[in-house]
């Protein structure tokens, strides 16, 4: 195992992103879909911070900060919507929430 370079971190970030995409596409529970989106945002953050480290430019850190703030805002609103959906339909399974019929 050699020293760890930029590509290791980028590969890890890609793996996490694909895990997030897998979660969004293949899980039916809204909360798990939401958490997979958070995982994707985290993977993007890791990419930003990695590039900041390996180019010496700190813009990546600031952008990661903004992504985190946006994720917090999105978490709040997403969960509020989820609570409302649950109140009205008593379920958070995406299959049972489909209202548009073919």
């Amino acid at each position: 195992m050699g020293p760890v370079g930029m590509h290791h971190y980028l590969a890890l970030s890609a793996i996490l992103f694909f895990l997030g995409v897998f979660g969004v596409l293949f899980r039916r529970n809204l909360i798990v879909i939401f958490m997979s989106i958070e995982l994707m945002l985290n993977a993007a953050n890791l990419t930003f911070v990695t590039f900041a480290r390996y180019t010496g430019n700190m813009d990546g850190h600031v952008i990661a900060f903004f992504v985190m703030a946006l994720a917090a805002a999105e978490a709040g609103i997403g969960l509020a919507i989820l609570v409302m959906v649950f109140r009205n339909r008593a379920t958070v399974q995406a299959d049972d929430l489909v209202m548009m019929r073919d």
Binding site: G5, H8, L12, I15, M35, R53
Partner: protein, 164 residues
Amino acid sequence: METVLFYIFAVLTVAGGVAMVSLRNPLSGAFALVMSMVGLAALYAMLHAEFVFILQVLVYAGAIMVLVIFTIMLLNLNREELHEVPVSRIRLLVMGAVCAGLAWAAVRVLDQVPQAKVEMVADFGSIEAVGRLMLTDFLYPFEVISLVLLVAIAGVVLLAKRRI
């Protein structure tokens, strides 16, 4: 030493992610995601991003995930009825072996890539540097994001009310 630490935290993070998308109970998935985020925070610390490391623990693992876990507990979203065939043990083992093999091959390939030499300023990743950048180059996004957060707060309070 750094290599060993990187692999430990990388395995922790990926394991948390895999557990999150595959566990049936969303609460267990949420705790797996918390573990994943703590692993990511450690990786940020290894990348000399000290402020982002603290923020990851403070905001992501400490606030956002607590909110998600609260919601799961309040709505009692315990079990999920997965409408799918349970995966057989042999298939899981084979998939695990294939993934492990791919990971090993990927690591071998990645180790061949030449390292880049990087010049970092003395206070790289420190709070002062990030703050300075945020209030000079990134002032406009900074103000906009405070507006976004304000709108989000108002929106959440409005959305979650029972009687408007």
